[in-house]
């Protein structure tokens, strides 16, 4: 089959690779009908995530048709149309039992690697480095889906791929980001990053009753999309001082909740700070750039919540711990526990409370994935979200 493979920094290639096989009794094989490129794939592309090997298949947002099931899978049959969540979860450990699926204690055979960097190992993920399991991803024609009796959700044919594909990752991720804010009536929620995850966080904040939603970004086309589809009030941080703008909007209180939907490759318009973080990254003294996170923390009102759904991999420098501690901030975070959100969010899509396809800006054949990564990285052509068709 053809699959998009990581070949090195800024180098992906669609090549012919072996078809996936059933390895465990609870596996299924899915023929992929739609898949996407994620912002966190860019961290792999840009060389920020360790433990990648040349030839690793990328992609963790995919859906399609079940073509084979292992002997212990009884909930799915060949022909079922499924969306597959990006964390791999066994359903039988303490973490899964508490619905913390991205913390599954069994799904990462390379837990020994992850423990060295992170302390304990989180769940295995599709297509996201050897530290997180070494599982091939879904930017391909087929994928092996472990624990097919736990993860995939069956979706009837009435909803097109474009409306349900994002249940695999970015819609639940944005939703969880908003849910972690514990939104009360009257709350003002500020979201850093108007990419697809940020857009879903804004839309979800609305669904969850936020009074006002603010979008912080530097690309006018992204801010326009945010305003148009989620009613967010845009702040372009290259034109406006964010802290001042937020003070004005909230009459001095600060946002009640701040969502970091940017993560480790944050850009900082203050040249000095950006240069500082970039230098430390290059010298390997700091692995992640926490600009958005710092700003979110400092802007948040006293006693408020900072919800972190942007991806981080390692260590950050100059973390405003004093601000957090002295002002009773709550930081809530995590890789999305997607399995928990599949059914409730599918319900919202069916009820027409939201049409997730609004984030799509491009559709490309799988073979054009390398071009897609460039478009997405460089934000060319008003690129927001690219769907790939194998």
């Amino acid at each position: 089959m053809r699959a998009n493979c990581w070949m090195g920094k800024a180098d992906v290639k669609v090549q012919e690779v072996p078809d996936p096989k059933i390895l465990n009794d609870r596996d299924a094989i899915v023929r992929i009908t739609s898949t996407a490129i994620c912002g966190s794939d860019l961290h792999l592309y840009n060389g920020f995530i360790p433990t990648m090997r040349k030839g690793d298949i990328l992609g963790h947002e995919f859906m399609g048709e079940v073509v084979e099931v292992g002997p212990a899978v009884s909930n799915l049959k060949v022909g079922d149309r499924v969306v597959v969540p990006f964390p791999i979860a066994c359903g039988g450990c303490s973490a899964c039992e508490r619905e913390l699926y991205s913390l599954c204690e069994n799904s990462n055979p390379n837990a020994g690697i992850a423990e060295k960097l992170l302390g304990h190992a989180p769940a295995g993920l599709f297509g996201y480095s050897h530290m997180l399991g070494g599982y091939p991803g879904g930017q391909a024609e087929y994928a092996r889906v472990p624990f097919a009796d736990v993860g995939p959700i069956v979706v009837e044919d009435d909803l097109p791929d474009e409306q349900v594909l994002f249940l695999s990752d970015i819609f639940p991720t944005g939703y969880m980001g908003a849910e972690l804010c514990d939104i009360r009536p009257g709350d003002v929620v500020a979201v850093w990053g108007a990419g697809p995850v940020g857009l879903f966080a804004m839309a979800s904040a609305r669904l969850l009753g936020a009074e006002r939603v603010i979008a912080v970004d530097r690309f006018p086309y992204r801010l326009r999309r945010a305003a148009e589809h989620t009613g967010a009030e845009p702040i372009n941080y290259e034109e406006t001082d964010v802290a001042e703008a937020l003070q004005w909007i909230t009459a001095g209180r600060g946002p009640d909740a701040c969502i970091d939907a940017v993560g480790l490759e944050a850009h900082q318009s203050n040249r000095v700070l950006h240069a500082y973080d970039r230098t430390k990254q290059v010298a390997r003294l700091e692995t992640d750039r926490p600009h958005a996170l710092r700003e979110a923390i400092l802007s948040c009102r006293n006693g408020g919540t900072v919800s972190v759904i942007g991806a981080y991999g390692g260590f950050v420098d100059k973390f405003p711990m004093g601000s957090v501690m002295n002002r009773s901030l709550t930081i809530r975070t995590g890789q999305c526990h997607v399995q928990r959100y599949l059914r409730p969010l599918l319900e919202r899509i069916r009820n027409r409370e939201i049409d997730p396809s609004f984030v799509i800006s491009h559709q490309l054949p799988l073979d054009d994935a390398p071009r897609g990564y460039e478009l997405f990285r460089d934000k060319e052509d008003d690129c927001t979200k690219i769907v790939l068709k194998p």
Binding site: C93, S94, S107, A111, G112
Partner: protein
């Protein structure tokens, strides 16, 4: 050489103890073992993988068996590969299941056999026993050792440093 590790498994003590006590189950999670055959009188014959496709065997006896609490065993006098081990089972707090703690001791002999032992039990016996318990947890909580394409044998220390590509293996 000593190695010890612990894991929490989401099953009652009786289930976890019972699975370990049937020594024939040990190869399902102890990667280096081919088979354990119970020969009677608390004795058993253990067969393990050795380098160059060979196997090595030794006889062992149970020195302590407290149901649902502790099992201890040791290899018999004159074994090629002197070793002993003990495992404790304790109910975990709340409804978390069972805490399993293992201690293993190896006395690698000198010379060529010592090299066999080192290869047998891994250069890192600590990591070996940690992997064994991870696999036990997977077998009991999910039904099987969990495999990925990069780690097609499941969790195994030497494989961590020699990963296959994240593609289906030919």
């Amino acid at each position: 050489m000593q190695a010890r590790t612990a894991v929490t498994i989401r099953h009652p003590v009786e289930v976890v103890y019972g699975y370990w006590r049937d020594f024939g189950n040990l190869p399902s999670f102890m990667d280096h073992l081919v088979s354990v055959e119970v020969t009677g009188n608390g004795r058993s014959r253990w067969t393990a993988n050795a380098p160059a496709g060979r196997t090595v065997e030794w006889d062992a006896e149970v020195v302590e068996d407290k149901p649902n609490e502790r099992i201890a065993w040791r290899s018999l006098e004159g074994s090629q590969v002197p070793n002993s081990g003990a495992v404790w089972f304790t109910p975990a707090p709340g409804d978390r299941g069972t805490e399993v703690r293992v201690e293993l001791t190896y006395d690698p002999p000198a010379g060529a056999l010592g090299k066999v032992v080192a290869k047998l039990f891994g250069e890192e016996p600590q990591q070996q026993v940690t992997d064994d318990l991870r696999r036990l947890k997977q077998v009991l909580e999910t039904g099987q050792v969990v495999l990925s394409e990069a780690s097609p044998e499941g969790t195994r220390f030497l494989r961590l440093v020699a990963q296959r590509r994240a593609q289906a293996n030919r």
